[in-house]
Amino acid sequence: MQARQPPAKAPAAALRWLYGELPQLEAQGLLPPGSAARIQEYYGPVPVSSRSQLLLAIFGVIGALQIGGGVILLLAHNWDDLGRPLRTLLALLPLLAGHTLCAWTLLRRPQSAAWREASATCLALAIGASIALIGQTYQIPGETPAFLLTWLLLGLPVVYAMDSTMAALLYMAGLATRGVTFHEPLTYWLLLGLIAPFLWIAEFRGVGIFRRWWLSAGLCGMLIAGVIATLSRRSDAPWLETFSLLFAALYLLGARRFRFTLSPWRICGALGTAGIGMALALATPVTRQIAAGDLFRGASAPEFFIIFALAALTILLAALTIPREPWAAVWLAPTVAIFTAAILLPHHDMRTGMLFVFGNLYTFALAIAQIVRGYRHNRLLIVNAGILLLMPLLLFRFFDAEMSFTARGFASILLGIGFLAANIALLRRKRAEGANP
């Protein structure tokens, strides 16, 4: 007899559902008698209190954030009546309290996610508060980028020591703020590299879906901020090309890593790609300015590197994902169009004209496809997303003063006929399905 393989780790919700179905399956003869007990023995008991642990952790973090924020506000009152030595001691107190709490948690409650998250959050906030209060007490001149850099570097070990999702999210938020506000791309990507091992371990170690989702969302934000930090040095940077590659890569990553849930990568990639399509379609002065960026002239080394890295990643992901999920190719279309225009149409006006036409056709087709897909799978959210994408486009084109009344009139009539025809076709199909279930 073959040795039994260990079971795949199943989420608690899935196990609960399965164990609930087993008695019925046995009763209906779909499973041999005794199968239910053997299957339960194989997978083991449902992990208890996973939801209550999660709730404890969430409340703990919120409580820690409120207390930490309140302490910062109280201490920021700048009590110069107390004298410098006492104010210095007060400035160090949050730091000492945070470390005491974290040490106690590791020694007495190491398995409690609630305690780890709350104590790590307290300590992460206390680090920034201490540095700021010492600076205020001694009137030490300091620039915000240097302050944020010090806070990030001192807070990073807390993320790893406490295995804290919230501390990691605070780190990412601080880094993104610093990157977007003060640029410095090399520093940004180095600091992102320091948190990357934590994110990698969380992604592949089988942590809870809730934690994995939030860390993935944080990483999405970091990548977007990183592109902004890298390209912000000049106004004619290749924004369109870089962001189209980024959103395409995010979507394909989401399609590969999170197959059964709405992953933040997929959401971010889809929203970003749809946003690019809409921006091209509306062709406002801002988008025209962005579309005027030259991909090959004046690009710096960091810009070349980021575009090359994103392009290589997108091509690799496309080769791995599209054979299995052909629908994903839809989200690559803007990237292909933008690069085609950049390479084949060097002249600015021709390029923006082509992208304008593409943007309108793509956004329209994407919106219709989402509405149809949502209808077919009974997913109201997707139907609504399609409508939200379509309505601004139709309204903008209706009031577009650059098109003649005649052109707008004919276009509206044709569209209206198309929608009515689609309605009739769908109704007939529904009736036919009702007659032949």
Partner: protein, 209 residues
């Protein structure tokens, strides 16, 4: 059982964080105890909001260097050591720039802005280059105050701003301790009185207890 490396990492983090805080405190205390005291005239300007949060934003007079050896063809910002000396009125003025700390006299390490200057003829063509202009950006540009006193100090500064330039000149200044290129603000003065004491006096007059 928690891995030992987590405890060790937490301990290392604590040491690093306390070391950074302690270093900040120690350096500032050294400057305040052993630094050369100097007075810097502050400029009375009227920005949209001079009180950002809980501090007074400071702008300084007497920031121009007497000369810059050049050359300078475009505007640029450099980090240099600036030797300071008091002028006839007793207020600090930048005297010389160097890339290394000067051998004597108080000095600050700060940003210096350099700009080429030209004289133009009647056809608005550049006639000949004038000596480059160089001015200092002092790093101590914020004075933190208690939130109740901030509006009172702002009112006092506003009243001075309402005067003509000559009447207002030199009536507000800050004292700074300078040591080894670092400067730490000691106090803000208005008409010879500490700004915080002035604000406290006004507050007690308006809210006697």
């Amino acid at each position: 059982m928690i891995p030992r490396w987590r405890l060790a990492l937490l301990a290392l983090a604590a040491i690093a964080q306390i070391a950074v805080s302690a270093t900040m405190i120690w350096r500032a205390e050294q400057v305040l105890r052993h630094g050369t005291p100097m007075k810097f005239r502050i400029q009375l300007y009227d920005p949209y909001d001079p009180m950002q949060g809980r501090y007074v934003a400071l702008r300084f007079e007497d920031t121009d260097l007497p000369e810059y050896p050049g050359p300078c063809e475009t505007y640029e910002t450099l980090t240099r050591y600036v030797r300071l000396a008091p002028n006839d009125a007793g207020f600090a003025q930048p005297r010389a720039l160097s890339e290394t700390p000067p051998d004597e006299g108080p000095y600050l390490r700060c940003q210096v802005h350099i700009e080429p200057q030209y004289r133009y003829d009647e056809n608005e063509e550049p006639e000949k280059p004038l000596p480059c202009r160089a001015w200092v950006n002092y790093p101590f540009n914020r004075f933190y105050v208690q939130e109740e006193k901030a509006p009172v100090i702002e009112t006092a500064l506003s009243e001075l701003r309402g005067l003509d330039e000559n009447a207002a000149r030199g009536r507000a200044w800050v004292t700074v301790r300078i040591l080894n290129g670092m400067g730490v603000l000691e106090n803000l003065y208005i008409d010879g009185e500490e700004a915080t004491a002035h604000a406290e006096r006004i507050l007690q007059q308006t809210n006697p207890q």
